[in-house]
């Protein structure tokens, strides 16, 4: 089993930004000073920031070289579980850069920004259609921000009912953002373990759900890549005690056009436009985390709301029950433009096909890899599957070692050590944009690593060898933080 290494090329060094340049150089033009100088009181003035002076060439070389040390979706296969690293279409960048979008001031009078408002209004309707929910707010800036908005909606709902609640149910497979977002509303998380099949069991919810519990936060499909088959019974239990069901929509990519979120009992769901709707993640953001709600929760959505009146659009802020404003303006409009472009390019059939192929790709990898890697739950999966390092443990080779070795083979590693309920988890989400031959190449590399773990474990444990840097000293970085140069 010979897999070709993916990295044997040229890696250029580059110093820190301020080690380049000379005072007096410049990389940008200023317009002519066509007004008289008007000196400001020197008492108020500082010396100006100590930025390095670079020419445009210095600048371009510096950041171009840095970029070559990165691995992106455009570089290759990026099976980072729970992150939906699908291909980001190039046309999205063109659309978001249109002057009428990119240069638009957020406080333009409504008559001067009809195009932007129409786009927001239509995208809200598209997302409502895709989820089956009734109303959408595009204000939240990222997934965790959407979770916070959703929790605030639930908090406002209970407040309006006249009795605030103290707790929220969160399964042990949840993303860490779930309990952190709930805590901002003052809710105390109540952990519930998933059953032996890797999904929640109604009895476990029945046992903890009471009238002091605001509801449940459930990711569906969950982070094990399994559909929560009892979701409707669970929702009924929560609703019977006056609670609400919050869905973390991070894994929507598995079920577009397949599952109706309202039909399964969801009251609030957040989506990640930077996952499911193919907007680039930018090395950590910006994302966009819209929330979609059932009709009865619409009054609580963040302000401003985009309203259509005849054929005119405007913003409204006078919503007395609203949880308030979530950000400086109207959310990440630049990201919305890309998600809108994606939905309008794919259409209903295209989105459903994307989910079908995402699930096909994940099940294909699951079947191809399960001979060599321990599968945490050997069941048909949705868009991702979770392995562990149990079979490599006898050779003292860990999940981390294998993740690092994958880099030498030219792949981005999967998500590792998450979900926490699987010891040494390896969480693989291929997405639908990967072709069979790319999946097969990945399988070949993974099998080669399994073989290396048996026969030459040191090779795996000392990986990566061909990257810009090798394993980094994270302990010293945390003990003696050096955060500024």
């Amino acid at each position: 089993m010979n897999a070709p290494l993916g990295t044997t090329g040229l890696i250029l060094d580059e110093p820190l930004l301020w080690e380049r340049g000379r005072p007096g150089r410049r990389g940008a033009c200023l317009p002519p000073a066509d007004v008289p100088p008007s000196p400001l009181d020197p008492e108020l003035c500082g010396d100006g920031p100590d930025f390095p002076d670079l020419s445009e060439v210095d600048l371009v070389r510096h950041f171009t070289r840095l970029s070559t040390w990165n691995y992106g979706v455009d570089t290759g296969f990026y099976p980072l579980g729970s992150c939906t690293m699908k291909y980001n279409p190039k046309t999205h960048e063109r659309q978001a850069a249109l002057k009428g979008f990119a240069a638009a001031h957020p406080l333009l009078p409504a008559s001067l920004c009809q195009g932007a408002l129409q786009l927001i209004w239509e995208l809200e309707r598209d997302l409502a259609a895709i989820t089956g929910m009734d109303a959408v707010s595009l204000q939240p800036a990222a997934g965790a921000h959407g979770e916070l908005a959703g929790m605030l909606v639930i908090h406002a709902h209970h407040q309006h009912q006249g009795h605030q609640r103290a707790k929220i149910i969160i399964p042990d497979t949840a993303h860490g953002t779930n309990p952190a977002s709930a805590a901002l509303c003052g809710y105390r998380p109540v952990a519930v373990a998933s059953g032996p099949e890797g999904v929640l069991e109604p009895a476990a919810i029945e046992a903890v759900m009471d009238e002091e519990t605001a509801g449940i936060m459930v990711t569906n499909p969950n982070t094990l890549g399994l559909f929560e088959t009892h979701i409707r019974e669970i929702a009924a239990i929560v609703h019977a005690k006056g609670g609400l069901v919050y869905a973390d929509g991070a894994n929507l990519n598995a079920v577009m056009g397949i599952v109706d979120m309202a039909a399964i009992g969801v009251d609030v769901i957040h989506l990640n436009l930077h996952k499911t709707f193919a907007t680039p993640h930018g090395g950590g953001g910006p994302g966009s985390g819209p929330i979609c709600v059932r009709r009865q929760l619409e009054p609580y959505l963040p302000v401003p709301r985009v309203v259509k009146d005849g054929d005119q659009y405007h913003l409204e802020t006078d919503r007395p029950l609203s949880i308030g404003r979530m950000g400086s303006f109207h959310g990440h409009f630049g990201v919305m433009v890309k998600a809108y472009s994606y939905i309008r390019s794919m259409g209903a059939d295209g989105l459903r096909r994307a989910s079908e192929l995402a699930v096909l790709n994940a099940n294909y990898l699951k079947e191809k890899l399960k001979q060599d890697f321990h599968l945490a739950y050997d069941r048909p999966c949705m868009h991702e599957c979770v392995f562990s390092d149990r079979r490599q443990a006898p050779f003292k080779v860990t999940t981390l070692d294998m993740a690092k070795r994958l880099m030498d083979y030219g792949f981005h590693p999967p998500t590792i050590y998450f979900p926490l309920v699987v010891h040494g988890a390896i969480m693989i989400e291929p997405t639908e944009t990967e072709s069979k031959e790319d999946l097969d190449r990945f399988v070949t590399a993974m099998r080669a690593i399994a073989e290396e773990a048996r026969t030459e474990p040191e090779t795996v444990k000392s990986a990566p060898r061909y990257t810009k840097v090798r394993r980094l000293d994270e302990v010293t970085a945390a003990r003696k933080p050096c955060l500024v140069g």
Partner: protein, 132 residues
């Protein structure tokens, strides 16, 4: 990670379920975490300790200990007033790894109820609790 028979568990200390140790002194008691605990946590990068003078009950959290990717709470093996904290750990948290019973100690407390000290495990009982 160490096997159980590789652990250093001094005879003259008392041990708690949450892997803290306690050493009775003249007027107070010194507290830290066991060799087992430091080994499980791995390289310790930060220790957060309470202010001197705080009154804490048995079982109450007195601080946290952090590795690169984990945080663990520290619990009072006995109740009492915090009379000293190991300031050295702010600069050198690795002492908890290298010398958990010596320079890696964490706090000293004035024990409220000596019976709580007696209720802690001795070496043999702790070793048994660890499954050894």
């Amino acid at each position: 990670m160490k096997e159980i028979n590789e652990l250093n568990l001094p005879e003259d200390l008392r041990y708690a379920d949450d892997h803290e140790w306690l050493r009775p002194l003249e007027t107070a008691a010194r507290i830290g975490i066991s060799d087992y605990a430091q080994d499980q946590l791995g390289d310790i990068v930060y220790v957060e300790l309470p202010a001197v003078g705080r009154q804490l009950a048995k079982g109450e959290e007195f601080g946290t200990v952090e590795s690169v990717k984990a945080v663990s709470s520290l619990y009072m093996p006995v109740g009492g007033e915090v009379t000293a904290v190991n300031e050295q750990l702010a600069e050198a948290p690795e002492l908890v790894n290298t010398d958990p019973y010596g320079q890696g100690w964490m706090i000293e407390v004035k024990v409220a109820d000596p019976a709580e000290v007696d209720a802690l495990m001795d070496r043999a009982a702790y070793l048994k609790a660890l499954g050894g």
